[in-house]
Amino acid sequence: MKFGVVVFPGSNCDRDMQEALQNDLNQEVVMLWHKDKDISSFTTNDCIVLPGGFSYGDYMRCGAIARFSPMMQSVIEFANKGGKVLGVCNGFQVLCEAQLLPGVLLRNANQQFICKNVYLKGVGSDKALKIPIAHGEGRYFADQKTLEELEKNNQVIYHYCDENGNITAEANPNGTTNNIAGIRNAAGNVFGMMPHPERASSDALGNIDGQIILKTLLMS
């Protein structure tokens, strides 16, 4: 399998994702320019990643412009055919704007950008995973019906939790609904999450919990 990482103008975690996949997980990575459309070399065994950053400056709602880029039209088709797509941070926001995932991401409850390590409980590990967040708009919100469906179908892939794996109000960094940090679509091939697994995947940084997430979501 191979990975495509989309580069929007304003993407700033694109190279971090590329390095994590190439250097830490030994995967083949192709960078995909937002103005291009051709992803015919990708099959549904491959995976496309929308990285973090501030696509098109995020001067409107985050991700609202990126969803209209030529490359996103191809990514939407790819996802609808069953190809795996992961959006991290701004990438998650783009996936929600593109309606590949339900819900929206609102400004953090404290109205401030927050960058720190947090803990996640979810797929791939029984213990809490330490992963950084870095966002100003990461408060997940959806209507009650959608939230119920997400929980019922096990579509919430990560909840914010404390160091010991307890999902508590104190462990919620941004006021997100039900401590939701990441979700998948009903078909199980599109994933979005606010925390940055690519920032926690190398020994040099002293944290490789992110490798567990990338492997679980994309390579299993």
């Binding site: 700033n12 975690c13 103005k35 501030f54 400056g57 950008f113 950084p132 920032r199 940084l205 944290n207």
Partner: protein, 744 residues
């Protein structure tokens, strides 16, 4: 319009300078030309009141690849075909008036200085000073500045990895915002800010030009008064998204080999970049101002010359290769316009609608050329008599040291700056190793090389106020010590010299003596000054700020494996103090904030003692006999110990090793040249052998969380951590913390 000395004075030039301009031109300048001189001969661009003293600093040697001041930023050799480019710069005056945009554009400006040389920025730091945090004005300024730095840096995508913040009354009206950027460049891909080659096109790239920031350079060259808020248009507006694209486009153009020279447009905009690039290449330029992309209609020639609109670059490329540049800037959807060409006559000729609007010899405008250089008079400040008269015997040693420590740890200068730094993206770029493994200086992977850099900013300005010579030495020494304690080898310095009005002889005394101290310390540590910035006029009708010569220092680690961290590792590890203890409470946070003593000498500092200490720490790290190293700074030994315990929720049991020293000095004094290290039990003999001949003392051991001082139970480290972490946030949220910070 008739140009007279009055016009010149309105443009903040002196009558003597106006005469000098007329003499140099052999005629009276027109308004456009006078504006050009006003900006270029402003303090900010010309360094007219500082350059004579700056030249006394060590400005070459070591691993320096370009001489200080020659390029937009310092460039030093990292080995293996890579160089590190770094610089610090102030944005004090704009931030005083409009903290959000002032700080944001400060960050944008310093990054441009780095990538205009061909380097990719990998780390940002900032050094901030504000007034008393209990006051609403300070809270407004702090909130705005932090938001501005985050807004720009987070979007631009360079991690903010370090810095410092102090709160002192003297900064109430004049906050300081100093931003530093560090970048990596591959050998052979550096770009010089030089124009060369007759007929080569001059290309304007980046954001369109508007009326923002007109006169910013001369605005930054005056005291701040009540009328300053009316100068709002002198503050620029930043767009980090444009700058991110500009960065990527510039770094894509450079490897094509078509770029002859490049300089960013910062202070004094087009006039400054055209003048400096031309003067350096010994050439001139013919510029058509109507070809400059604008975002406002009917801009006048002088407005176009002086506008400080952000995210713009001036590029000289090889004739015929304009298309290469155009194609890359089209890809990034950025304006790109050929606005003129290089000439051989040494003249800057600016045309608009075919009319010659200004014609000036480039050389006469610039520092090192025709710009004036002044000797200023200085006299010892009168307050220094009060400083010298301080007698520590007048301060009674408190009985309840624990109560003192509880206040100390919540003083905003000492407490965690977490409220601030969580608003900065400190991890983008996946190079900041200090998030999970904290160290005295931030250690950042110098990708794509295999090396790492240790970076820090330091200046305790109260020490400089108390003793400008010694205080500036301490700033350099502390920066070097932070790098050494992180396992790095100090390489070089960039400085940001924040002072009051240079025409005040007492302020100028501070400047002169701080430069002397800085120079002596930089020579001792073999860390040449690669460049930086002078910011005078940090002054208001109540007086000047503390003299604040901020040191930005970069150190090298051949591998990240060489890194040393500051946190205690394991229960049972043995704690040592390396360096000598002194009965010294001078200029400490304890003395000033808790005992309320404003005037006292700088703390103990001896440069030979410091140098020897740093060599011993380096040796102990190289021989792998220590498990942690954290230097003693603000708050003294107790604060160093408690900070070391936080990361792994450990504690410590220690006892003072010299009964002859007053207890408040022992635990809270800020005498320099001390480092707390821990040693694994089985390495005690090896450690003591490595440091034989040095001064060190065993303080005690690391515990599983309890804190004990001289046999007295001081509770658990976690409760100290709560106070430390939450003091600033509580204060800003309006809750008085349990120990009534507002009384401090």
């Amino acid at each position: 319009m008739e140009i007279t000395v009055k016009t010149a004075e309105q443009l903040r030039l002196t009558a003597e300078e106006f005469e000098l301009i007329k003499k140099k031109l052999g005629r009276t300048p027109n308004f456009n030309e006078l504006c050009a001189f006003s900006a270029m001969w402003s303090e900010h661009c010309s360094y007219k009141n500082s350059i004579k003293w700056l030249k006394t600093l060590p400005r070459e040697g070591g691993r320096m690849l370009v001489a200080a001041g020659e390029e937009n930023a310092g460039l030093m050799d990292m080995g293996d075909g890579y160089g590190v480019v770094f610089k610090i710069e102030s944005h004090n005056h704009p931030s005083a008036i409009e903290p959000f945009q002032g700080a944001a554009t400060g960050v944008g400006g310093i990054h441009r200085d780095i990538f205009t040389m061909g380097a990719r920025p990998i780390a940002s730091l900032n050094s901030l000073r504000f007034g008393n945090l209990n006051e609403a004005k300070t809270q407004h300024l702090l909130g705005g500045v932090v938001h501005g730095i985050g807004h720009y840096g987070n979007c631009f995508g360079v991690p903010t990895v370090g810095g410092e913040i102090y709160f002192e009354q003297c900064y109430h009206t004049n906050p300081l915002v100093n931003a530093m950027s560090v970048g990596i460049v591959k050998a052979g891909e550096t770009v010089s800010a030089t124009a060369l080659g007759k007929g080569n096109p001059v290309i304007f790239v980046g954001s369109a030009t508007g009326k923002d920031g007109i006169g910013g350079a001369s605005f930054a060259s005056a005291d701040i008064t009540a009328e300053s808020t009316e100068e709002l248009p002198a503050v620029q507006v930043g767009d980090p998204f444009q700058e991110k694209k500009l960065l990527e486009a510039c770094l894509e153009v450079i490897p094509t080999g078509v770029v002859v020279g490049m300089q960013d447009m910062g202070a004094a905009g087009i006039i400054c970049s055209t003048a400096e690039m031309s003067a350096k290449g010994g050439v001139g330029m013919r510029i058509d101002l109507d070809k400059v992309p604008t975002r406002q209609q009917n801009m006048k020639a002088w407005e176009l010359l002086l506008s400080e609109s952000q995210e713009r670059m001036l590029m000289v490329v090889e004739k015929g290769k304009e298309g290469v540049v155009q194609k890359i800037f089209d890809k990034w959807d950025l304006p790109c316009s050929v606005i003129g060409e290089v000439t051989e006559d040494g003249l800057l000729s600016f045309f608009m609608h075919g009319e010659l609007e200004a014609q000036l010899p480039a050389e006469e405008l610039v520092l090192g050329g025709g710009a004036p250089q002044y000797d200023r008079a200085y006299t010892e400040p009168t307050y220094l008599a009060k400083t010298k008269a301080f007698d520590a015997a007048s301060i009674e040693v408190p009985k309840d040291l624990k109560a003192v420590a509880e206040k100390l740890i919540q003083i905003p200068n000492i407490a965690s700056k977490r409220w601030v730094y969580v608003q900065y993206d400190s991890m983008v770029g996946t190079g900041n190793t200090s998030t999970n493994q904290p160290s005295d200086a931030a250690v950042v992977l110098a990708k794509p090389s295999d090396k790492a850099l240790a970076v820090t900013t330091d200046c305790n300005s109260r020490y400089v106020y108390a003793d400008p010579y010694k205080g500036a030495m301490i700033a350099v020494a502390e920066a070097a010590r932070n790098i050494v304690c992180s396992g790095g080898e100090p390489l070089g310095v960039t400085n940001c010299l924040n002072f009051g009005n240079p025409y005040d002889p007492q302020v100028y005394y501070q400047f002169v003596h701080a430069i002397k101290g800085m120079g002596d310390a930089c020579r001792k540590f073999n860390t040449p000054v690669t460049g930086g910035n002078v910011s005078f006029y940090n002054q208001n009708p109540d007086g000047p700020v503390y003299p604040t010569p901020t040191i930005g220092m970069v150190g090298l680690l051949d591998s990240v494996q060489d890194k040393m961290t500051l946190d205690f590792k394991e229960e049972g590890d043995v704690i040592y103090l390396v360096g000598k203890s002194y009965a010294d409470i001078n200029s400490s946070e304890y003395l000033q904030k808790i005992k309320g003593v404003e005037f006292s000498p700088a703390p103990h500092f001896d440069i030979e003692e410091e140098f020897a200490l740093q060599q011993q720490i380096t040796k102990a790290i190289k021989e792998k006999v220590i498990a942690s190293a954290h230097d003693v700074s603000e708050g003294g030994l107790f604060i160093t110990l408690i900070e070391s315990s936080f990361n792994r929720n450990l504690g410590f049991e220690v006892a003072s090793t010299d009964g002859g020293i007053r207890k408040d000095a022992y635990w809270f004094g800020e005498a320099q040249s001390r480092v707390v290290v821990t040693v694994k039990k089985d390495q005690v003999a090896a450690f003591e052998k490595t440091l034989s001949g040095a001064t060190f003392a065993k303080l005690g051991t690391v515990t599983n969380g309890s804190v004990s001082i001289d046999g007295e139970n001081w509770g658990n480290a976690i409760s100290w951590k709560e106070k430390y972490d939450n003091a600033i946030g509580n204060l800003l949220a309006g809750h008085d913390s349990e120990h009534a910070l507002s009384a401090l």
